[in-house]
Amino acid sequence: MNHEYDAVIVGAGGAGLYAALEASKKANTAVLSKLYPVRSHTGAAQGGISAALGNVEEDKPEWHAFDTIKGGDYLVDQKAAMTLAEEAVQAVYDLENRGLPFSRTEEGLIDQRRFGGHTRNFGEGPVRRACYAADRTGHMILQTLYQQCIKNEVAFFDEFQVLDLLVEGNRCAGLVAVELATGEIHVFRAKAVLFATGGFGRMYKITSNAYANTGDGPALAARRGIPLQDMEFFQFHPTGIKGMGILISEAVRGEGGILRNRDGERFMERYAPTLLDLAPRDMVSRAILTEIREGKGIRGDRKIDDYVHLDATGLGKVVLESKLPDISGFVRTYLGIDPTVEPIPVLPTAHYAMGGIPTDIQGRVIVDDKGTVCEGLYAAGECACVSVHGANRLGTNSLLDLVVFGRRAGMHICEFVDGIDLPAIDDSAADSARSWIARLLEGKEGPHGGQIREEMQTIMMADVGIYRNAEGMERAVSRLRELRERYASVRVQDTGRSFNTDLLEIIELGNLLDLSLITAESALAREESRGAHSREDFPERDDEHWLKHTLAYLEKDRVRIGNKPVDTSLWEPKPRVY
């Protein structure tokens, strides 16, 4: 079936929905989502959305921008970070005006709390900048935006999986998708396409990410010759539930929770004397791993799955139940622990992709190091790289990123589609996707994806995780190439057309394999440590040679690495200490 729209948005999380609200004001817009919109992973975000409202204590967007830039270890494009911080204030008010049920101060204003890396006056001490709704801020944002889409009658194509991006020269013309309920292939011809497909933590074995987070947008863009930026920077959130990866929000530490090793020591005192447990996430994750390697994990056996304690016992029942109810629930349900009396066993978990599809601050996709725009192609949210997060993202900046840049992309789409024609699409546009699906569904015997996925996730966790070195990454690259070859002969076990979730998983696996290879190659190429990218063989930050973005071009089974400059026009890069 064929469709024509001014704008097609892929992904119905925070960025996709906000873009849809804006775009649908003037453009005939459709939102495609592989899940029902309310299942999107934005709903799992817990801690908050930051904005310098100054409701609880003095704050300024300038301080927020600086914290974001320093938090990103100076790989952040600084004027973009300033845009993020400045637009944050109105973005939060807009969400509230649309009904978001923020937690409140006694005076009835939006309440704010402390969060990692957010400081007053350029690093003096922590500042209460994170606006929150208990520990369900993401859920509230997702629900509020979906409610607004219902109010504005936005058109949704639920449970459609995108298969191919149609790009002719430097012009995007639409996309090809499969309707999961029927197996039917649909071609969407559009003046503008926005990818808001979220993250890809499922490259890793232990992750906070949903099963659906498989980087579909970036994988399709990469296969069409569009470079992916800064893929080596993948954030490991310090506090995932041991063994499961389920996120325990930084908000626990924001409310006073403390990380302790087997001696009961608040070990962050040694790693970040000023911000302590509220240091940026990459620093805390490395600290935890270092403690474990030195035999100070709770078991003390130095094994990779040893863990530390997150001690929330000092917070008291009232705070835990009113401000952190969901987290208290997770800990009770999955660990059988009462957080008011027992510490929570935690371990870093693969959490957030700082890298992704490169864009400018209007959300337009940039395809090289010279600022060349791919006409009609946009990206926003976690799958995009503006870059506002640089080498490491601060907590509460992602929900903000979705709202600010989702909105900007939607607004630009309105302008862009006005008065231009629908691009031409060849009759054969869907052929490549059709024949690929047909091949996968062929009754032929072939390996199933399950084994390949296990291996990929294990390799990535071991060799492209928190601490990296050349030997490990080279091994990962070579194993991933092998896995991609084996993938080529994968076949489904379910050959049906209706709700073929087996087929969906194989499509997703292909996307993850491509992104894993790109991540490993990008990591191998960067010979320094910066933000979340830590190399044992190159432990120092090297601004002289490496203060630049990585661009990775997927070329069959190789990845070609390029670079592009970072905007450091506002603050001079300095060592990142807290």
Partner: protein, 247 residues
């Protein structure tokens, strides 16, 4: 330990009727039921179909009937549903919705009823600057309904739709209440035509099955009763009777 999962299967292309298939799987007591199902899907039978995403109880994708109780597969631990080695867990799709494949049901009607209550803030008063204020007490008044993840466990658990399939349903009503009780909302009258009708809020008979099933601990029955009270008070003030279809 080894346990059995007895799962309802249905492939519209090949089956006339749903039927059960039993799988044996090796599990730990602390595994999520979803983990066991994923293991089967990935290593034994790729055709087993079910929805899932977040795997920790916040997205609502994997609501299903487990040993006759409507719950989320990712929030149900093996030890919650088996006593020991060799036990069987029966897994069926949610009730009342057409089965599309295995445990995947057509939720269109569920979302249609949700949309019918206008589940968005209704307030055209201009905001001068910043946020509309709301005290912590006012915020608390509608707190638990804001947690709804639209998983439909409550709808499946409710006995009313068996007799009265047009009943608006607990989720739609509780999402309406979320706005009725929000001090910033002005949409009470606008939502009345959907709530104050014979198939609106009135069919609820306080069975409490919804409240028991809700994985987000929402006091659904309580909120439905509060909604009924708000409507009754409103009608009384105007000398009208509620439109519950009774004399």
């Amino acid at each position: 330990m080894k346990i059995n999962l007895k799962i309802q299967r249905f492939d519209p292309q090949t089956d006339q009727e749903p039927h059960f298939q039993t799988y044996e799987v090796e599990v730990e007591p602390t595994d999520r039921l979803l983990d066991a199902m994923m293991h089967i899907k990935r290593f034994e039978d790729g055709s087993l179909s079910f929805r899932k995403s977040c795997a920790h109880g916040v997205c609502g994708s994997d609501a299903m009937r487990i040993n006759g109780k409507d719950r989320l597969a990712c929030k149900t631990l093996v030890r919650d549903v088996v006593a020991g080695e060799g036990d069987t867990v029966v897994i069926e799709p949610l009730r009342y919705f057409p089965v599309q494949k295995d445990l995947i049901v057509d939720q269109e009607e569920f979302f249609t009823r949700y949309r019918a209550v206008k589940p968005f803030l209704i307030n055209d008063e201009p905001v001068e600057k910043g946020e509309r204020t709301q005290t912590p007490e006012q915020r608390k008044a509608f707190d638990d309904p804001t947690n709804c993840i639209l998983c439909a466990a409550c709808f499946s658990a409710c006995p009313i739709p068996e007799e009265d399939p047009a009943f608006l349903g607990p989720a739609a009503i509780v999402n309406a209440y979320r706005f009725l009780a929000d001090s910033r909302d002005r949409g009470f009258e606008e939502r009345l035509p959907v709530l104050d009708v014979p198939d609106g809020v009135w069919p609820c008979q306080n069975h409490f099955k919804c409240t028991e099933a809700c994985p987000r601990s929402i006091k659904i029955t309580k909120r439905i009763n509060e909604t009924k009270r708000m409507i009754t008070t409103y009608r009384k003030k105007r000398g009208e009777s509620v439109k519950d279809g009774k004399l």
